[in-house]
Amino acid sequence: MSTHSGVCNFCGTGCGHLLHVDDGAVKGVFASPGHPMSRGRLCVRGWHIHELLATEDRIFAPLIRRNGRLEQASYDAAISHAAERLSRYAGDEIAFLASPRASNEDNYLLAKLARTVFRSPNIGLASDQGHGDAADVLLEGAGLPAMLGALTEIRRAKLILVVGADIARLNPIVGSEIHLAARNGAELISLSSRRTQIAKLSRRHLWLNPGTLRHALAAVAKVMVERGWEDRAFLGSRTAGFEEFSRYLAGLDLGSLTAASGLTAAEVEDLARRLAGAGSAMAFFSSGISGLDRGSVALLYDLFLAAGQVGREGCGVNPVTGICNIVGSYDVGAGPRFLPGYRRAEGPAAGRTPRELLAADPTPLKASLVADRDEEIVRHAARIRELECLVLVGAFNTPFLEFAHVVLPAATYAETDGTYTNTERRIQLNRRKIDPPAGVRPAWRIYADLAAKLGAAWDYASAEDVMKAIAAEVPAYSAVTYARLEKDFGLQWPCDDRHPGGTARLSVDDLPGPLKFVGGPADLPAPAVSGDYPFLLMAGKANYFWHRNNIMKKTHIPKREYNALLLLYPKGFVELTAADAARVGVRDRSAVNVVSAGGSMRVAVRVSEDVKPGTAYVPYFIGDMVPGFLNARGFSLDEDQDSVIPVRLEKA
């Protein structure tokens, strides 16, 4: 046979695919009909992963910067050089940036390298906004720091609430499952500030004012409890903390919450009633590329808990990750704030991420080891340029090379064994299908080699050996072996003695203790407009994320498709309704100045009825927008998905 089963390496859905291998190279891809979740579907990215795997735009040899130029070197020389240089730094002078696309084996050893060899707790994960918050809330509330439901049970949910995420673009196959469930009778409700594709396909689109998700969720919860619709039997027998949550809700003013959210009282009440009365219900929100803030996740979880929609078939509070191994990275301790197995990193073990360190002015950071770094937008470029030692480990050529002092080429996911954990906690094994370019090593081996140079003799002969170590340290992986992963399409953790076949979803019959209410945010400020700044501008990261992702540039068709809008609006765009555009005195494609208290930028107008009157939407992917307009104001897209800035628009 020339087709071999594998798992897509782009988004967090983890669809099954079949790679066509001929003459030692990947020549094609097909959807895998047997995969239990994706069942023969792929998105535009997945259908073209063979283009990425065929690219010659790779890093083929180790490089060391000498006299300003990157020169080829041997692995031995480059690793020695990197080890020696990096070991000169301590404390907050050094930090490590893991890749959300790298395998569990890669990330486990990177985290181990950082913590045990360099004795540094400073580990971050690129493109990870918000997933840590979601994991934190779900760990505290349910003891399960990831999706509580299962993607394979979407078809059994009677009600599906999509919160914010343009899921049809972020994770198309998850969006497909949701859409097909709706066509089979599930009640699909979207709660978002923009009219996304899934909103158009929903029975109900609750069109929020920007920045008021918390208000809407709090209002719905308050109405549910005031009317006595909460699931009292469930609350009494399975949960703890409801009284405190009720008191919190009682202290909120329903009228002002509803008014701030832009929903009607009837819409709020309707959602509360449906959610409480549904036989089963799931909530989906984006986590990773773009994520909800902790307060919003907490309210969403508490709302579903009050409605009794946690821990049964077809139920769940479900963060959806946008990159293939964000969940796995956290599982093995390569995400910030958690050690392997979700022990909270506290005290000296709680480090700071490269992003946090670079945001300080002046920054204490002097050295960093970075994996992949696919995201093209470089914040704090000037500070990164000043670093004394930057080591980059990665497979693909990237503009980020200009910042690196040592470069170590890695194998792609098709050139080495590795496991990746998708958004529904499914650990899936990708077997090596082709040889890497001559001499190129897998990343996990590079980290082991670095450790060896610094006196730590690890003993991993294969990626499978690394998985054995992971299974020994991460309780939720303790029954995982490559042989078991290969038998079926992976295993969902927890996969341990009590759950040898894995765990599709959280189940009330399987809880060590009660499910806990996490508690809503203390304050609920609503973004305010003023005479000077009468528009609310939403800056959205998720939709066009892959446009500014380096690996997408190595493809042909997906690159063309992600470029489609950019060709129409080369300097970026801001979406306005036709009426608002007319009031400002502009039309589609004409230029407008977007002015905020912290700065301004000039972009083209894109007339769209997908935004509410009085609001505007800007995708973050346009060239200078992030370091320029958004960062200059001190505004950080690191906050919640619903990031909002009051602005005014002036005809340019």
């Binding site: 079949l18 097909f30 009909p33 792929l42 010659e56 198309p172 969006g175 068709i557 060709l567």
Partner: protein, 344 residues
Amino acid sequence: MAAALAEDHDLYGPVIDPPGAEPRFDRVEDPAAVRLEAAIPYNPPKSVIFPQAERIMSYTYDRAARRAEIVRDDHVRPKALVGLRACDLTGLLCLDRFFLGQEFVDEVYRDHRKKLFVVANSCVRPFPQCFCVCTDSGPAAREGYDVNLTEAGDDYLFEAGSVKGEVLARRLGLKDAGPGAAALKARIGEAAVARFDAEATQNKAWISRVMNRVTTGFVSNDIWEYIGDQCFECGACSFVCPTCSCFNIEDVAARSGQTDRLRSWDSCSYEGYTRMAGDHNPRQPVEDRRNKRFFCKLSYSQSRKYLRPGCVGCGRCVRVCPGDIGMSNVVTYIRREIAKEGAE
């Protein structure tokens, strides 16, 4: 037979690997791995002669001398494709007519096609996803094969459809089936058709009425928007379709210094597909791209290049679509509109 073909061809056929998996078309080293009885493979066989990604030529350009040296790729090997059901065989004929039967003859495709030996496998029963009886493309294979097999009890009727087929028959030492063979084949075909009502339950699609409507263009824009809203713009319908032939050409600089010209599958569902230099895009909104697809398959003026409807009733697009807009569903939506008008 497969073993004989394997001696001088690369062998391709339906396989089930690992056991219990869905059938797919794949290259086989062991002729015994070919599973003629398998249901319609998930992937269409077109990648055998129209690969998903293919280097069709390479060149080096001497800038100083202003001269290009072009090397046509001569990588095509003889291939035998065994187990094509009538729908897929009809798809192959559509591709033949598209690539070879119009004003411009595609040399790359012709090279693949001339070196292909086709063994069809007439269906004796439908599968749940089938609707070839609606698209006049089965269940029996009619033309375009080198060999056609029809299962008749424990044996197969072997029909040679070309000189190559006859040569194979002699090589295998097959004996004449006798004067009743044609009638037997006809009876088997009728029995297969009779089973559609009960067994081909997923995709009943009354295409002929809709073809008339699509040809004359009276389908309201609301329908196309309804369809467009459900499109996830993944391209899968084009990739699984046995008759879809759209492709993209891309020149890629190789490390060796030469430039490779790649041909790869493309899809009219993509926004960038019809975008032109100057950024004009005659099919920018998704509903315009969706109506293009169904016009291509169902409208007389566009499908006449195939000398038949552009759909072969294989049901793959229905299975692979993340939305719910495979051929049979779209036909149903349009028929509903026709019926509604009739009632008014």
